[in-house]
Subunit: 244 residues, 2 copies
Amino acid sequence: MADTDTLELLLRKLERHTPLPEADRRAVLALPAHGRSVPPATYLVREGEPPTSCVVLLSGFAFRHKIVESGARQIVSLHLPGDALDFQSLYLRYADHNAQTLTRADLAVVPIAAMRELVTTRPLVARAVLMDLLIEASILREWIVNIGRRNARARLAHLLCEFACRMDIIGLSEPDGYALPMTQEQIGDALGLTSVHVNRSIKALSQEGLITRKGRLIGFPHIKELREVGDFSELYLHLDEAIG
Amino acid sequence: MADTDTLELLLRKLERHTPLPEADRRAVLALPAHGRSVPPATYLVREGEPPTSCVVLLSGFAFRHKIVESGARQIVSLHLPGDALDFQSLYLRYADHNAQTLTRADLAVVPIAAMRELVTTRPLVARAVLMDLLIEASILREWIVNIGRRNARARLAHLLCEFACRMDIIGLSEPDGYALPMTQEQIGDALGLTSVHVNRSIKALSQEGLITRKGRLIGFPHIKELREVGDFSELYLHLDEAIG
DNA sequence: CGCCTCTTTGAGAAGCTTCAATGTGAGTGG
DNA sequence: CCACTCACATTGAAGCTTCTCAAAGAGGCG
């Protein structure tokens, strides 16, 4: 994996909402990143530790999570290729959560100092980072709503719809669905449910004909109905919001 | 309420983690804000509408929430005096949630354009805003964990501890506790519970001697035990993190 | 004093969890 | 190439937390 073109993906993400001037684009691409390939379940951030670098997911999937006193785990966010995992740690002294890969992944690792410098000297890049954070916060809010006020069936449908949308944005969705890179236990940890109940909820959706399954490949024959079941509206993803 | 000194509180918040140079401080205080006093339950932001201004809470309490299809409400965050409610809307075209006052409140209303200008031209202010957003995101993550993986008793204890900490930071906590500015229904909406079950959980904590109550005044005779019950650690609030 | 909102309590039902066991498929070494 | 293994998925039964519905008590404000 070449070190330079790895950052193309980061640039694409930052420019999702407004293009950057040429000088800023060059500055982003000139970040001193190095590539790294890691296996599934690799820790990228550990709760309580000082952050050392900004990680950008080039391929593969990742998630953030926290462990409660009882030992239970709650997944608090999912990350797709192109996501920058650690704007979080740009200005905070200690990580407040863990981050781990879900699958094998290729990473671009940028030293924090370089990222700070970039953000400090280039207001438009700072703005793009800020927008990214605002959208991430919006997704966190929707997850609170999902877990707090929807039943298992709706939660699951909502998660599937969100993932479909996000895969679509980055061009990773197949015409008929996608491969969800999570075990049922991980899905449960993301939804505040047990894996057993996730299994039953999947079965229910499947029997209703709302989803189809071949291994981890999930199809959506009636996406409209599924969105209704999940009370899903993609407004919170702020997909097409170029700013004035 | 004088228009100029209203912004002192915002400045104090921005400077919580690192002091700003004199020029930046003056720029913040020179924001074209106007004061406004509103009654409880006043809407400050409505989901789906374009944001019009940045609101800073000078006194009183507020919350953000979303309504699901069934009509249930989920509160996704609480806000105390000094909180800026609308960095969220700085760069997003549509609000993805509602914001409403909990109590009577005094607000400083800053036009979005002025706030954008400030953030664009002053990197250190931008950094302070970014830090504020990072901490808010951290709180959102902890709420997901709280709702997803703790039982009613622990959730309630956690909320009470968080509120205690945050009141403390801004100097609003009495030696023996505080007045929680929420009805039991609102507490339920914040915790993903029903008001009935909140009532029973409060009663339980009270009978165990972990909290005392006089109306809405809540006391904490055994704060250490309460923190254990709520699995509470204030790390996620990033209280004392000056940055290098 | 009376009204209105908020709190409190009870009883039954529902949803989700827990525990435990069995089924399944992909990868591995003999 | 097959048996073995290991992680993951699936199923059943029982129990517990939380919800729902409903009604009665309490407190503050005009």
